[in-house]
Symmetry: C2
Subunit: 324 residues, 2 copies
């Protein structure tokens, strides 16, 4: 049996399939260091991140019998909301396995979308095992957050929209990377564009994997990061493959650079970006992603951040700006 | 001579005229008290508010000779940015008369767009006189912020987009009101919709004017408000006319209700709304605007707020939510 792999054709088909179920998020102009370029504001997606795209695509491809038995997903939050919202729209029962320390805003939103939550301890338990056990017990379908062809192809619809909205292919796309579903999907959608993946400092396993030509995990002693959406310890051959074949490269940004990008997004774009959603913008603002042009696109991928954490980050940045 | 008045035809023509120069801002889904309705996210407009629409329309209608002599505008900020950005795009020199205590973020953005700023004291000087004097001395064209047919028709393009994006007319539109340019323009664009204007408490002169059937000014002892964009002391017959003819009504919201709406916009819509830009959302969240349906639209009109003020408002709201 030949294993199915994500493809450009699959991304195009997914984009058609899910088009009426998702928000076509705007491509907004932005000026950085005198260059006018573009931001794909995927934080304005329903559920506050691009995750609704892949989840919707995956669930639409389930059979009636599969739908009847429900879905299970494990997620720190954004994928959970994507699955919960897609499931609710389609009348499918959803159970989300979520770390007990996930941001309250993500937990509440998942509950509000009508899903059940099963907690696990991020330090001592395996969410994969819990998810698999629940799925087996109920006959439910496990919906992975990135290691799945339909999920990757669904996320890639972001790239199809970028091309349509820009009136042609961008020359460069800066995109955050956790497991790599969004970046791999966009790489497939936009074969003409240079792809730069962006990760938090110390969590840049995709960058190191791309550089070395083979998948390496995050180091055991990776530093703490506020980018909860990007704390993936190992990427998948399904996401690494399209990126390495396209010659994508990865860069890492610090927590301070991410906080500054969040403040920039609020002040100059009027967008709420969560830490993980702001890393690509941080790579643009710091120059780490290299030269940018009028056909470069930065993906701001999510905006689900605890309100108090968000206020404190903005206050820190505003105070610094005022007294510097 | 028959005085020209703003019209639906004028709004449609303006919408066509300026379409390629402005951002088509998204219509985003939102759920309030179990009702799914829509937000027109005009804070995502270039310059951070709807003001670019009217300014672009007005400037595009100037003759080559008028353009050569430049434009003058007086504004607390958002109109200033709209005029500055439109002027820069068209190669027109712009001078902005701005209160010395305008938010720093609005001053900086106006300067960044390449305009000159002339300060005035909000308490002791008349910006109208200063603006008229500058315009006369230079032969420049004064671009009013709302008391102008072309400006009103340009702002009305917001309503044309709403109808297109919704696939038909909304049943109700909630919209902020300072001088009334945006609300009058939308009323003209959408003759089938109920229009509810929203103002800060004590600054609800449009509401009282609509109720009494004639224009009344803001009371001398109006309370302080953070809604700097809505501190207009007297509306114009050009804006009052279309609204009163349509049977529009006005409501007022408090500073606390506006702050809560700003926090809701950040948390649930991932939008940065300034105080004046959040009043219509506040009217929806408090129920003051009456029953809402799946075809109701809330205009979030601007997102230019001092970063430290914004952080403090969000922190106050988040702290309250966490400990209540």
């Amino acid at each position: 049996m030949i294993e199915r792999r994500p493809s450009r054709q699959g991304v195009e088909a997914a984009s058609q399939r899910i088009g009426s179920e998702i928000t076509r998020t705007p491509l907004l102009p932005v000026e950085i260091e005198g260059v006018k370029l573009w931001v794909k504001a995927e934080c304005l997606q329903q559920g506050g991140s691009f995750k609704l795209r892949g989840a919707t695509n995956r669930l639409m491809l389930m059979s009636a019998e599969e739908r009847r038995r429900g879905v299970v997903a494990f997620s720190s939050g954004n994928h959970a909301q994507g699955v919960a919202i897609a499931a609710k729209k389609m009348g499918i029962a959803a159970t989300i396995v979520m770390p007990a320390d996930a941001p309250a805003v993500k937990r509440q939103a998942t509950l509000a979308a009508g899903a059940d939550i099963v907690d696990y301890d991020r330090r001592t338990e395996s969410r994969e095992e819990i998810g698999a056990r629940l799925a087996a017990a109920r006959g439910a379908t496990l919906v992975p957050s990135f290691d799945d062809v339909d999920i990757i192809e669904g996320q890639g619809s972001t790239g199809v929209e970028i091309r349509d909205q820009l009136g042609g292919a961008p020359d460069k796309v800066l995109v955050c990377c956790g497991g790599g579903g969004l970046s791999a999907g966009i790489a497939l959608a936009l074969p003409e564009a240079e792809i730069v993946t962006v990760e938090p400092f110390g969590w840049d396993d995709m960058a190191r994997s791309l550089e070395g030509g083979r998948i390496v995990p995050v180091a055991e002693d990776a530093p703490p990061t506020r980018c909860d959406a990007l704390q993936t310890k190992l990427v998948s051959p399904l996401t690494f493959g399209p990126l390495t074949e396209r010659g994508a490269r990865g860069v890492a940004v610090t927590e301070d650079e991410t906080a500054a990008a969040m403040a920039f997004a609020a002040r100059s774009l009027r967008l709420v970006a969560e830490p993980g959603g702001a890393v690509a913008l941080a790579a643009a603002l710091t120059g780490k992603a290299g030269a940018l042009t009028g056909r470069s696109v930065i993906v701001v991928s999510g905006g689900n951040v605890d309100p108090l954490v968000y206020a404190e980050i903005l206050e820190g940045q505003a105070t610094r700006a005022r007294y510097s």
